[in-house]
């Protein structure tokens, strides 16, 4: 079993505290949008902080592979009932011990209140037994066996359960949290490689982290601390990188994408990210239902998009044309799934399929592709609809919405009358994360209103499989169904386009696009 391998890798790292170098690494980031509480942090600004001041049962290597962090073992015979054992000597930065209860209480708290932004995780991303949408105290079927051991019962088997446990929402909390969660959100206490320095958080400006001397895990800080500087624009951060006021940026601004490799030389980073871009048509959209006509039209549209040219010209090669419904950094990514040739640019085939559909029911009206105008999407949307227009000879336009909230509201209320841009940034490096969330019938984020019992069955089989590899076989079969029905049209994968200064070494970006800060070295 994969879990055995995990247990082997789980030997404790060498001593905590200060690392090989003493310099303070500065990195661009954003002011957290929510209090720094695992169950309430779902955006990158807060997420990067929590990932460095807290530790979960597992953590992720740069390539997305999983290593044990706080856990000594994560075991199950049936993928449904899990027993988790913690390492010895775990402590929070305030000196109190990390026990099985620290985990169990934190998860129960997260699931207890629908006001928590990540509450749905305990019922939908991972199906915990006992979860209720309305929350309630101690609803999850978690059981503390002793100080170092607890058990988890899931509502149904989940082969990649341990893969998900490195996500923010599963971090433990110290007892002091429950006295005053609001105060904790301002000055959080964790068990990670770093802790927030005294008075380290200057709102809207920066947050300074220093190595946590209590941390004994494998992610020992190799520098004297980290300072995350909050920028309102990526341009400002890039200007600071070029003038040596900043060590690491997370994203090159779009106006520098063409030049940043010349500016930075071998300090420029360009690697695939766990970001899947697509556009989606709801099943109710006229002519695009999940019937013979709609399926033909969806395939015709997909064949009519020149992904190679758009990624080259519009994105200057910083996006990679899609070959499946996941991402190159996800375990199970594949280029040869049955039916994936629907993603190739083939004008003749597109016209042929479109005409077949016209024979069933003649086309009328206009093909629209909705996007939020505040997110820099106009260029690729225009290129995409032009590609469709030129190939199929139909009227195709981009439909701008002023902002993201406006677009999502129409999608959520099913009042949208066109195709719309969609994307997915993976929360953990497993295929179930996207396949379970976006296309299962009845799933909250199933924007396409896709409803296919065969697909649901394959995903369920995959979730119950004995190993991640076996699971991925089922998931690949499920993807073949997606290629046939095309609830969403895959476009391309996102990339990490970033860079760092001459003052730092050992800079790596993880599968989740985040710089791996504890590894960075900088002379003091």
């Amino acid at each position: 079993m994969a879990i055995a391998a995990l247990a082997l890798a789980g030997c404790a790292g060498t001593g905590g505290g200060g690392g090989a170098t003493t310099g303070i690494v500065t990195v661009s980031s954003n002011e957290p949008e929510n209090p720094l509480i695992p169950a309430n942090t779902n955006e990158v600004g807060g997420g990067l902080i929590l990932n460095n001041i807290m530790s979960g049962l597992v953590y992720y290597n740069a390539d997305g592979s999983v290593e044990l962090d706080d856990a000594a073992s994560i075991e199950s015979d049936d993928n449904q009932n899990w027993t988790i054992t913690l390492r010895d000597g775990l402590k929070f930065s305030d000196g109190t011990p990390v026990t099985a209860e620290s985990y169990v209480k934190a998860w129960q708290w997260g699931a207890s209140d629908p006001e928590n932004l990540n509450q749905w995780w305990f019922g939908y991303a991972i199906p915990f037994a006992g979860f209720s949408d309305d929350g309630g105290d101690d609803t999850l079927a978690l059981n503390v066996v002793d100080d170092k051991t607890f058990t988890v019962e899931l509502a149904q088997p989940q082969a990649d359960f341990s893969l998900a446990l490195g996500y923010t929402v599963f971090f433990p909390l110290p007892d002091s949290f429950y006295d005053d969660p609001a105060a904790f959100g301002e000055s959080p206490i964790g068990n990670g490689p770093y802790k927030v320095a005294e008075d380290g958080w200057i709102h809207d400006e920066s947050i300074t982290l220093e190595p946590n001397p209590e941390y004994t895990g494998p992610r020992t800080a190799q520098n004297g601390g980290v300072k995350m500087v909050f920028y309102a624009t990526q341009e400002a951060a890039y200007a600071d990188l070029l003038s040596d006021n900043l060590d690491i940026i997370q994203q090159v601004p779009s106006n520098a994408l063409g030049t940043y490799k010349d500016d930075l030389g071998d300090r420029a980073v360009d690697q695939p990210a766990a970001i899947f871009q697509s556009f989606t048509m709801q099943g109710e959209l006229p002519h695009f239902g999940y019937d013979e006509e709609g399926t033909l039209r969806r395939a015709a549209i997909s064949h009519a998009i020149n992904r190679e040219e758009i990624t080259d010209v519009i994105f200057q090669g910083t996006r990679t044309p899609a070959t499946d419904f996941t991402s190159p950094v996800i375990d199970g990514y594949s280029t040869d799934i049955e039916g994936a040739d629907v993603l190739t640019y083939d004008p003749e085939k597109a016209v042929e399929l479109w005409n077949e559909a016209n024979a069933i029911s003649p086309w009328d009206g206009q093909f629209g592709l909705a996007y939020n105008a505040d997110g820099g999407h106009q260029e690729w949307v225009d290129a995409t609809v032009n590609s469709i227009k030129n190939v199929l000879g139909i009227d195709a336009v981009g439909v701008p919405y002023p902002d993201f909230a406006g677009l999502r509201t129409e999608v959520n209320n099913s009042t949208i009358t066109s195709a719309f841009r969609t994307g997915w940034q993976f929360d953990y490096p497993g295929m179930y994360n996207i396949l379970g969330a976006l296309y299962l019938s009845g799933s909250g984020s199933n924007d396409a209103h896709y409803d296919n019992p065969d697909y649901d069955a394959l995903i369920a089989q995959g979730a119950q499989a004995g190993s991640v590899d076996e699971a991925n076989d089922y998931f690949h079969q499920a993807e073949a169904l997606l290629f046939r029905d095309l609830p969403a049209i895959p476009l391309w994968y996102g990339a990490v386009n970033a860079g760092y200064s001459t003052a730092v070494d050992n800079v790596q970006y993880g599968w989740d696009s985040w710089p791996i800060l504890y590894k960075v070295t900088k002379e003091g």
């Binding site: 629908p114 709102h203 341009e235 006021n245 902002d403 509201t409 959520n412 909250g444 984020s445």
Partner: protein, 310 residues
Amino acid sequence: MTAYILRRLLQALPVFIGSTFLIYAMVFAIPGDPILRMFGDRTPTDATLAALQAKYHLDQPFLVRYLLYMGDVFRGDLGTTFQGQSVNEILMRTFPNTLRLAILAVAIDLVVGVTVGLVAGLRKGKIFDNVTLLIGLVLISMPVFVLAFVAQWFFGIQLGIFRATVGPGAPWGDLILPAIVLAALNFAFTMRLTRASVIETNAQDFVRMAYGKGLRSERVVPVHILRNSLIPVTTNIAANFGILIVGATVTEGIFNVPGVGNELFKAINRHDSPEVVSIVTVLVIIYVLVNLGIDLLYGVLDPRIRYVKK
């Protein structure tokens, strides 16, 4: 005089209520649910959606929300953002930075603009006059973001004279470059107004009289010409100050100044109605007060237009 100031302050009250109502209505009218935005491409459960909408009163009708908000405002509480931060605290943190940037920009504008305008006015039609006119025209026709990016690239990155963006704590030194950019935008106005006014004053009888009774130009220029020329310039600069302290969003963004304009921009993106309305309302009040200050300044500079009780 006191009665006049009091009446002007009382007039600010309906402005305050009217502006909060209008701004609140406009933010309310922006389509889209801010709660959904928080979840990106994920969709929250109905229970979560309902709980969060209730938490931020988003499930209430418009008028109820407005009255709830105004109730808090009159208790001195400008509300909390979706992040749970107090808007009072945000304003106390960001406003001083914007204010310092505005003071610096106005000071640079005043010193450089008035000096150049004075010299140009005294040497009307000479080469200095023409060259400064040309520079002024170039600066005034350049969009702010071009000027800001060029200044940042050249002085911040290439020459390294200034820090490319404003560093931690927004020290005065780092604010100089964005302040120069902001001052440059108004420089042409200040300079040309001063010049025109100086030329006009220079031709007045009392100036010739001053020269005639044997005063030297070191005395005539600052005391007789400059003081009398400064009235229109003062209004212009004070009005510009009013604009600057309510936040130079673009410039603050490019130089990462932790100021009001930057904060407002982020709040609008979040549909954070309590924050947007509160910040804008406070800015309206400040603007009203600055304008009152300008009117009073007139009287100080020119006794002829001092307010008299009827």
